[in-house]
Subunit: 338 residues, 2 copies
Amino acid sequence: MAQKIKLAIVGATGAVGQEMMKILWERKFPISELICLADPREAGQRLIYGNEEVVVKAAREDEFANADIALFAVNTEISQQLAPAANRHNCVVIDNSYAFRLDKEVPLVVPEVNPEDIAEHKGIISNPNCSTIILTVALNPIHQAVGLERVIVSTYQAVSGAGVAGLNELKKQVEAVHNNEEIKTEVFQYQIAFNLIPHIDSFVEEQYTKEEMKLVWETRKIMHAPELKIAATAVRVPVYRSHSESVNLQTKKPLTAEAARNILSQAPGIIVQDDPDKNIYPMPLYTSLKDEVFVGRIRKDISCDQGIAFWIAADQIRKGAATNAIQIAEIVVKENLY
Amino acid sequence: MAQKIKLAIVGATGAVGQEMMKILWERKFPISELICLADPREAGQRLIYGNEEVVVKAAREDEFANADIALFAVNTEISQQLAPAANRHNCVVIDNSYAFRLDKEVPLVVPEVNPEDIAEHKGIISNPNCSTIILTVALNPIHQAVGLERVIVSTYQAVSGAGVAGLNELKKQVEAVHNNEEIKTEVFQYQIAFNLIPHIDSFVEEQYTKEEMKLVWETRKIMHAPELKIAATAVRVPVYRSHSESVNLQTKKPLTAEAARNILSQAPGIIVQDDPDKNIYPMPLYTSLKDEVFVGRIRKDISCDQGIAFWIAADQIRKGAATNAIQIAEIVVKENLY
């Protein structure tokens, strides 16, 4: 990567934007200029990038004139408004929102799964939903080896999925419970401290939430498996960071648990933690701040002939969002796709 | 229930024993004498029963000479030792431990599912595993209507499953996290505050835990469905009370989500909470201290032809343990089976 990049981050002050700045520094992303953009009300804030400070600017169209690549970590509405503006200035957008994910003209990419799709981009590359990234990293090696017939997933999603506000809400509610004070609920539908909420994003079809349907729609697109049968239940849990998922899958060809473990052990982006006798299995507390997807509890699904069950945990702010976007950006740079 | 019963509670000082005393009073169980038994070190403690106090006695064999029925809320080892002793004094045992659950001579009963099995008892009736009780209350009405082919369940189990010690451990760990103090772990394998542990009870076969296999073995026995295909993943979550379960099932005959909702609405022991547009679905925080199994998120399993998915929550100390045992005792009394 001889070429140095003028890189913009849109939403630099948010949970994902902040993590992006850490990861860019850690991975020595080749930056000649870092442009931190955010809501105009946040302009003037100073953010840390390695040992430098960067002053936040208002996210306005003309800022993209000076950028080669922009990492978007904002909501769907702002992405829809600003991504075409960035493209008009020949700035390639890697967008973390839902805005363009299902657009046929926009690649939806998990670098461990479909890096080749990046070359097809027309200015925008979408970063998938957090739970979907984590799931596809674990599903794809098995799909490549024996074919997937059906996937059932129940998620255990951290409050960080709702950004800094979600993290603060859990913290405040836990303190209120322990001090016997009134519980305030602003971010989530109900108290999340010491509770579970089987409702993430809005209800869209057949009583499924959009979060659940993203796991269906996006997994099919990323894995180029439009016929893959998937059903999901998405549940918010009182964990700060890292999403977890309980997965049952049926394969087209037979696969033993041992063979599945070997496939997953050799797959990119995965760390297998699977030694029950030593109490070794993935847990969200210990996978936080890591970039890999942790897979364990790999075993035969004893309710069907050709089934495997496993348990996943991964940091949703990193691999589920920021790291995945930066991995895409690295390929864009390396293959001169900007 | 004209007959009044001399009732013993073995393990009266524990979380389940204490809940039993509350529920016996609430339900006006016909007691002529309440005998509270516990570890000899706890003898002399005074427990509240309604507006009375009962002094705890050491759980010794001769105490059963004066009891018609004994509710056991102790561990497997103590049940194995004391239940035959109680039987020798013609005291019928309703046992909450795992000790006799799979014994062919011992009925394993959920009163909403297989009350008729109680009449077959030879001195001991087993109370099932908490997650299994909750699951079978919801599964059986559908099994009776259209037949069940396969069940996949992922659990979200509260710390109360580990008794008072589990409740205290979560509380202390949360305080330690917020005060930035050292986290102590005694009850669970790892920190449970703000974490998930995919490991409940010991690992027994094919990398499944005993808790997961109880959901298989006990569900089959209770529902008289020895061929039913079940796979479970059991996960401990940082919730104080009430277990939750994400369930995907395949039925032998077709069943719409609407029909499933109707069946569950009319089934005994179930409250359907299922109106997503109004954010109505079961949550463990709000099902605690209740006796029913709450079912919601009832929908077609879009990954198969004849599938239904739903989400359950129920208080594991009450319906998952104490209430179920007392419901059994009520039938024993009513039908003169002691």
